[in-house]
Amino acid sequence: MLLKRIALTSALVLTASAAFADCTISGRVSIIGNEFPAIQTIGAGASECTGGEVTTNLTADHQTLNVPGMQGDPAEYTSAIVANSSIVALMNDDLIRPLDDLIAEHGQDLQKSQLITIDGKVMAVAFMANAQHLVYRSDVLAKIGVDVPTTYEEMLAAAEMIRSQGIMENPVGGAYASGWNLAQEFNNMYIGMGGEFFSAGTAEVSINNAQGVATLEMMKSLSEYMNPDFLTHDSNATNAEYRAGNVALMNMWGSRAASLVEAEGVAQEVVDGMAIAGPMTVGGGNIPATTLWWDGWTVSKNISDEDAAATFIALTHAIRPEMLNEETSSQAVWLISGYEPTDASEGVIAAANAGSVPYPMLPFQGLLHTALGAELTDFMQGKEDAATALADIEAAYNAAAKEKGFL
């Protein structure tokens, strides 16, 4: 008994010292970020540091909180965990500082590929990659005798077979909820069709073209194989449909693939049949109809150099190679040296290897995204034609961009 207790205590002391040994900070650290397992791991890693106060606010509402929380001087948040889309708002308002000095002093172990460099200055440190890709039911595809689709056209053909053979009524899943999700699906498909969002070098939108029409028509065709409530289905609801065994083919986020069928009560055939493949192409194009994403951390501009150094050290500690273990490895496609890809990461890696393009980091991309999310719904419900929908989107974007001074 006593021996056991001694062994346990020393084990605790050992793990504690191993964790705390290499991270001492002298300053305040306050992190805001999104809420999913990989980011919670980062938050916990930063909290291991001693010598200063470390607080985290990980919430799905991070995007509405980070700008106001970093505008004060001193800023409430010393760091925001962002992605390629959300860093733009912080850059536009000049709220994050270049990290070159801090990297020279404390960040020698970071890899060059992790550094997000804008105009020659490092503005963020990326730690994971993400993308949407195909998630399917291998047992259903085997039943209809079809190979894994590599294009959206093949996906439609497979969906028709699944429906006509009476296996599933609505075999296609898609996060087509009006708003951000629907706009993102447009972006994916439009990139796959080879479209350009803006006239080069300007903020003038240019989606009212043949690629735009083709994109909308493909989205409409797909939606005919979806649950009729698709305009209310975000990625959570789409995953629920998949878990319930109602969906056989869907374009889903890599960061959600690992935990997709872990929930309680998922039928065994769904668990066994779940499979992941790379993103699909569309309309005969070579570029996959998806976007690549990175998640990374930044350091606030409006804080003391001492707090900035503490924040940098704590977050560098959180993404050190030793943090990778069996549990954390499957949470994301880590961009940390020594990361061994797991089965769940197959889709994201395939997306990167297939030449997918990153979500554009343009100052005005967010305005187009909002306009798409609000104006696409009429077309998806069959209330207007593709050309009118695209003209509406352009008009809505133009009004917003004029107000913001982009046009």
Partner: protein
């Protein structure tokens, strides 16, 4: 009261009103008249884990110096009010010139976000307000005639829809009316239509939102009317019974005239609340079918790039809308007041 006493008595209230009502109003109006400076672009090289490329970025130094010169931004006057996201003056004019009939004109107008939102908001307001008042009155009269041992319990349950936070209430209903939910499934069985989906049709979504609106606001009307019923003059009621008035006649000639001032009060509050309908649209994920001015403000502020001027403009338009909506009731109250004096 002497003028001096009145002044000191009223001062704290006046200061509070100035700080918390007048100042924010002035600030919102100001923000709706100014827009951010023109952004100065420059081409920068952007490198991320997926490679490097040239892209457009904002020249922060140039933008910051513009901002330092004129912190309020560019004066836009009524430009934002008249742009496509709001009153859309030029789009309406174009629609008027182009359309060959009144139907085509309304179709074109219905494609503009502001007018589409107004169509839903006004329908919602003018259906939900009277229905909630009628339902609240019926509940109040029924509860009032219950045995006193039962009253407490029934009142508590009648108030539940109001106690539950609107967002949660609408989420619960949202799941129940899903085509796989208990209510959605029951409706499919009732109408013998397996493809019936409340969420996929605009008309049914409107009905659903309005049913939710009545469900949520009726308890407020009920509570106010129930309180009013406690002061019902028993003498008048008894004499009407002696005169042989039926239950319906008692309600029509005694109860309703007695609580009429309360009906005005409830109508005022609910017109205001219903015009700002917001939570059910978010809770029911219904923005594809129904939007409101409040939802626009939310949408402007929730995007990655926030549109402050646009949101302020919508706020001012909401205030104007509420003023227009309430003016008949206010004028009537003012006349009643003058008649009494």
């Amino acid at each position: 009261m002497k003028h001096k006493t009145f002044f000191w008595f009223f001062l704290p209230t006046a200061v509070a009103m100035l700080l918390f009502i007048a100042m924010p109003l002035v600030s919102v109006v100001m923000q709706s008249l100014f827009t951010p400076h023109e952004q100065v672009f420059k081409i920068v090289e952007t490198c991320d884990p997926f490679g490097c490329k040239q892209s457009t970025g904002i020249d922060l130094e140039a933008t910051n110096s513009l901002r330092a010169e004129k912190p309020l931004g560019r004066f836009a006057g009524l430009n934002i009010y008249l742009d496509r996201g709001h009153l859309a003056s030029s789009e309406v004019a174009a629609a008027w010139l182009k359309s060959d009939g009144i139907g085509a004109f309304f179709n074109a107008i219905g494609n503009l976000p502001f007018y589409r939102a107004m169509a839903f908001t006004l329908t919602f307001t003018f259906l939900v307000t009277p229905l909630a008042i009628i339902l609240g009155f019926v509940i109040a009269v029924s509860v009032n005639s219950l045995h006193r041992h039962l009253k407490g319990l029934v009142i508590f349950f009648s108030l539940l829809p109001m106690i539950v936070s609107p967002l949660i209430g609408s989420l619960v209903l949202f799941w129940m009316i899903d085509s796989r939910g208990i209510l959605g499934n029951a409706l499919q069985w009732l109408f013998q239509d397996p493809d019936l989906s409340l969420k996929a049709s605009t008309g049914l979504t409107w009905v659903m939102l309005m049913v939710y609106g009545v469900w949520h606001t009726a308890p407020f009307a009920f509570v106010v009317f129930y309180a009013g019923l406690q002061t019902l003059p028993q003498d008048t009621l008894e004499s009407s019974m002696i005169d042989g008035a039926s239950r319906w006649q008692q309600i029509k000639y005694v109860v309703i005239p007695h609580i009429m001032p309360l009906v005005t009060f409830v109508a005022l509050i609910q017109l205001m609340d219903n015009f700002r309908v917001f939570e059910p649209i978010v809770g029911f994920n219904a923005s594809a079918h129904a939007t409101s001015l409040s939802w626009f403000i939310f949408n402007d502020l929730a995007g990655e790039t926030r549109l402050l001027s646009s949101a302020s403009t919508t706020s001012v338009l909401t205030i104007l809308g509420v003023c227009i909506l309430l003016s008949p009731v206010l004028v009537r109250t003012w006349r009643d007041f003058n008649r009494k004096v």
